[in-house]
Amino acid sequence: MGRADTTARLGWVIGGVVAATLPHLSHLPPWVPLLLGVCVLWRLGAATRGWRVPPGWARIGLAFVCFLGVLATYGTINGLHPGSALLVVMMALKLLETRRPRDLVVLLLIAYFLVFAGFLDNQSLPWGVYLLGVAWLTTAALQQATRARAPLPAREALALSGRLLAGALPVMLILFLLFPRLPGPLWGFDASTSSATTGLSEEMSPGDITELALSEELAFRARFGERPPGNAELYWRALVLDAFDGRTWTRSRPRSQMPLQAEQVDAGGRRIDYDVIIEPHGRHWVFALDVPVAAAGAEVVQAADLRLATVRPVNERRTLTLTSDLAAAADRNLALRDREHFLALPDDANPRSRALARALRADGLDDEGVIQALLGRFREEPFYYTLLPPPLGRHPVDEFLFDTREGFCEHYASAFATLMRAAGIPARVVLGYQGGELNPISGYHVIRQSDAHAWTEVWLQGRGWVRVDPVAAVAPYRVSDGLMGALRAGEARAARSVQAMQWRRQATRVWDAANTWWNTRVVGYDDASQRRLLEGLGIEGEHARALVTLLAVGLAGSLLVLALVLARGLRPAQRDPVVIAWQRLCARLARRGLPRLPGETPRAFAERVAAARPELGARTRTLAALYQQLRYEPDTDAGLRRRFLLEAGRFLPYRWSRAAQ
């Protein structure tokens, strides 16, 4: 093996090792990649410049120090991240003592393991694509490192390993589809890694939602059946805030934790079934259309304020099947004591607002009249819907209503609910998302953080809780067209980025559809999906057994096909009857415990047979001599050929050989 060859092999292996380490950079302590870099350079220097690598005792010492380093960094060596760090460290040190191909193979096996760990860490589509590429590269490196002859040029090496992986594809698919799955997510075992941004918060004060308005991050997806409701009906309820201190709306406990009583909801007859796929947010919130009436599975509970909540925090992407009744009425018979709870206002805040509400009441308007009058006020007076509201002082509702008149949804919801309560109408604020974008490619609605919204619910005698969205009065397009439609012209900074967002939104629809497919069909493929697949194949009940059978049959089948393809490529079809007769003869002798060795000539084989079984000796010798004559000598006559075929056919017939056993 030449030195250039050795260096080329080493280069491939280092490529694989580095590529497998890259996905872990974000969580590795900086000294680990640094160590790897130093070891890579050192090893390359050793290969090309003849640098000396550290002696054995130094490597052992270094390994111990690095182990302690990992232990000190993480406090443990258990878990995904410490484990990956340890693997990278081991790889770096192993690199320093690679001499034989076997050492390179060890390195590449660690690289494969890191690829696997990388996928446990993050299962998103781009990550998956990258890791697949790394697996390809690593396979090419493995092929180069263990190759008997000189390494191939890069393109050929990648093509060869590509063919190898393609050959493994059927087996991979069968294992993916049919290997029995455990209920529950396989990937989400490490909660600490998936605590994502939460989006909404548990309380609301002016300015909270504004921060979300520019975030393109995905909140959740939803899929309806045949006819999805219009955008104006897509109010995704997450939280209900019923306590107000003059500035901040919060949830009152324990009232908000109480479970829903069945008699609270009266069916309205517009039931709609849909799935929501919630991105991990680390809380219990579920996003459901008003009024949620049912959820499949025991995962989800419903509180008295109608919101749904999961039993376990949503730490991994979760799909829930929900039913809502868009026309249902809630709390028609609200107890007097409860009404008072929804009327509570602090005495020392927002005096002008309360005066306004009392003035309206004094005009003799009923509840509906008051609501219409206030909505009209929002519509007719110069209120602006803006992402850049001016800061508010001690009486935020007063200042917003009478001075600044510029605000975002939380300003309007807060102000409207305050006015309602001041006017003696029970009111509360609902936090959630409004709208969503239908991706025509995947058929899913995509709801982003920028769709976060706050609105108001008022309680009316005989009707129960009624949703009133004051933003719809000020900027009706916010509700029908989403945020873009509602923004006031001239909001330079915000608008520019919103425009860019709009453009990007179009461009990323395909990407989102691919992600949806990946998340639901690949990462989200679980025991339930497996059961559905089997039912699609007409296999009901007892599905574990069917799975194992299908798995075995599928694997055996695909391996058989692969073997046939390979065998055809390796060996040209043998058609000469003389050769076939000879091979059968050898097979019969092999069953008698006398297999022909690969490098044995027919004559040598016959001699060995004669030595072991003298009674077969003469005939075997004759047949071998005839065979060699027929096969290796020119223009042998047809008689000889016939004689050989006849004799070979009679030699050790099956009946005889069984009798001899």
């Binding site: 008997a148 002859r149 690969p598 490098g599 060699q628 004559q629 290796y632 000598e633 020119p634 223009d635």
Partner: protein
């Protein structure tokens, strides 16, 4: 040894059949040789096959095991003009090839042929000479001619060199480079005789006088005819498959530093054909190929360090690894 590997089986049916007397002639030659060199029938056949394939023979062994006797006996039995050149460290190329001598009577230089101008040349202990001298002999072997002072002098035919070398562990030797080793078709070892043969050797007539009494069995013309018959021996496609598989394995395997060269492969085929001729086969059998392979690859395949110490190692590994079709 000219022509391509694939050209060998493309012979017409008339020439493909070796004449029966070829085998008989060969048998007579071998019988005579067996009478002189005791207990080495295989080595004798290899040497003869080597000669018939128009190759040159390298014998690597300790002094006194009968290398010279073998060469001398061959020359005697085949009726060849024999010359022995003892290689020493001060031997010069001109000592082998010849020199131009000034003839005062003619007033001009005249080429005085050296000892290489013989039909069978025994180059004894070739690795004692300097590389320059070694290379002079090997070039003459390869080109079948000697060029001195711009004039080319053809060497006689048939021309066969038997070179001997001491195992390189011995002091005072210059190892032959691999490129020059490749010019020898075969390398064999004679080894010590077994006790019975040793006894016969000790009690029997002196080999030297045996050789001197031995009449020539054939004349050089018959030998040339035999040599011409070798490339005509039939080679089947199955055998070519086997040969190519052997060559390919030698190149792909990790056991060898380098694989067989195309010249090595062609030599293997010719040697196998000569062996088949000697044994009266109408076509080359895998046994023929297997019989000559160890001698043909012995000096060509260098096992990778740490693998197989003995001489038969690389050849045996190769034969065991490649299946006979």
């Amino acid at each position: 040894m000219s022509g391509k590997l694939a050209a060998a089986p493309a012979t017409s049916p008339e020439t493909a059949r070796p004449r029966a007397d070829h085998a008989l002639t060969a048998a007579a030659i071998l019988e005579a040789l067996d009478g002189i060199i005791l207990g080495k029938p295989h080595e004798l056949r290899l040497a003869l096959a080597c000669l018939l394939a128009r190759g040159h023979l390298l014998i690597e062994d300790l002094p006194g095991v009968g290398k010279t006797t073998l060469a001398h006996a061959l020359a005697r039995v085949l009726g060849l003009k024999f010359q022995r050149i003892q290689f020493t460290s001060d031997l010069l190329p001109a000592d082998i090839l010849g020199v131009s001598v000034y003839r005062p009577e003619g007033g001009r230089f005249e080429f005085q042929p050296g000892p290489v101008f013989a039909q069978l040349v025994l180059a004894d202990e070739i690795n004692r000479a300097t590389p320059k001298t070694q290379s002079a002999l090997l070039e003459a072997m390869e080109e079948q001619q000697v060029t001195a002072d711009g004039t080319t002098h053809a060497l006689p035919t048939p021309f066969f060199v038997v070179a001997t070398r001491n195992p390189t562990e011995q002091t005072g030797t210059f190892a032959l480079p691999e490129s020059q080793l490749d010019r020898f078709l075969m390398q064999i070892r004679l080894g010590y005789p077994d006790p019975a043969q040793e006894r016969a050797l000790l009690t029997g007539t002196d080999r030297r006088s045996l050789i001197s009494q031995q009449p020539a069995i054939i004349d050089p013309e018959t030998l040339l005819a035999l040599q011409d018959a070798v490339p005509q021996v039939h080679v089947s496609d199955a055998l070519l498959d086997y040969l190519q598989a052997l060559i390919a394995h030698s190149r792909e395997s990790r056991d060898y530093v380098a694989g067989l060269s195309p010249r090595g492969g062609l030599g293997l085929l010719r040697a196998a054909q000569a062996w088949a001729l000697l044994h009266g086969h109408r076509g080359v059998h895998p046994d023929d190929l297997q019989a000559v392979l160890p001698a043909v690859v012995a000096h060509r395949l260098v096992p990778r360090a740490g693998l197989g110490g003995d001489d038969a190692g690389p050849a045996r590994g190769l034969l065991e690894a490649v299946g006979v079709p």
